[in-house]
Amino acid sequence: MTLPRSFPLFATTFACAFAVLYIMSVQYNLALFTYHPALNQWGPLVQPPKGGPAMYWYGWLATSAVGALALAALACLLPGRWAARLWPGFAWVVPVGVMLAVIYLLRGYFLR
């Protein structure tokens, strides 16, 4: 399978954007949809719990995926000389930073 030459740029941008958008979605609860497991119901955007807990994780994933796809597609439109400057290492630096931030945000679970 032949991939476009811009795929590495797309992939690196996607990894960075997805990680950043994901932690923003978690922190500010920017879910595209909500799932109510007790009722087996889906609802658009963020909804309060109904009949039991509400699950936002699927919505956070969707928000991050849609946003990261859009940003990665935009990055592919950049001039080649700009694109060549993007270090592929950002594909792990940014996600690792986000993972450390998640640990910090959830530290309360381990410090009680």
Binding site: F14, P88, Y109
Partner: protein, 154 residues
């Protein structure tokens, strides 16, 4: 049904764990010569041949995990809260977030392993693989421990 899916989820996770562990070991500690010993065999696997399998297994395991996630949310997390097992609950919260971040890294992981290998970035390739391996190990161990806490099929 949930128990059946949980077992399939676990089997996929074990396969993924083996694949990415082999790949990571062979990246950081490659064998120079083949001696035929067990350790040497682990170190001398062709790393590139694992890439597509790892991506597919990661996606399949995460998808299956997301299908059985509501059962955890309704039946297990509440028990952890009742018993004030905050570290266990927090470990699962970390698992769900780490796996999400890992999903976002998959295109980059796949891209950097494409032939011809991006020879300029061997360290990036190794670290990206190692981060994914860490996520897989974390997810596997947390899932295993939580399953032990709640008990099989309960």
């Amino acid at each position: 049904m949930i128990t059946f899916l949980l077992i399939i989820h676990a089997l996929l996770a074990v396969t993924l764990l083996g694949a990415i562990t082999h790949q990571t070991i062979s990246l950081w500690w490659p064998a120079r010569t083949r001696t035929g010993s067990f350790i040497n065999s682990v170190r001398s696997v062709p790393s590139m041949s694992y890439v597509t399998a790892i991506v597919v297994l990661f996606l399949a395991t995460a998808t299956l995990g997301s299908i059985i996630y509501p059962a955890y949310r309704l039946g297990i997390r509440t028990v952890l809260q009742d018993y004030r097992m905050f570290a266990a609950e927090g470990s699962f919260e970390l698992k769900e977030h780490f796996v999400a971040v890992g999903l976002g890294m998959l295109p980059a992981y796949w891209s950097i392993w494409r032939k011809p290998l991006a020879g300029d970035y061997p360290r990036t390739r190794a670290i990206l693989t190692t981060v994914l391996a860490f996520i897989v190990w974390w997810a596997f161990l947390v899932g295993h421990v939580l399953n032990n806490i709640r008990g099989f099929g309960s």
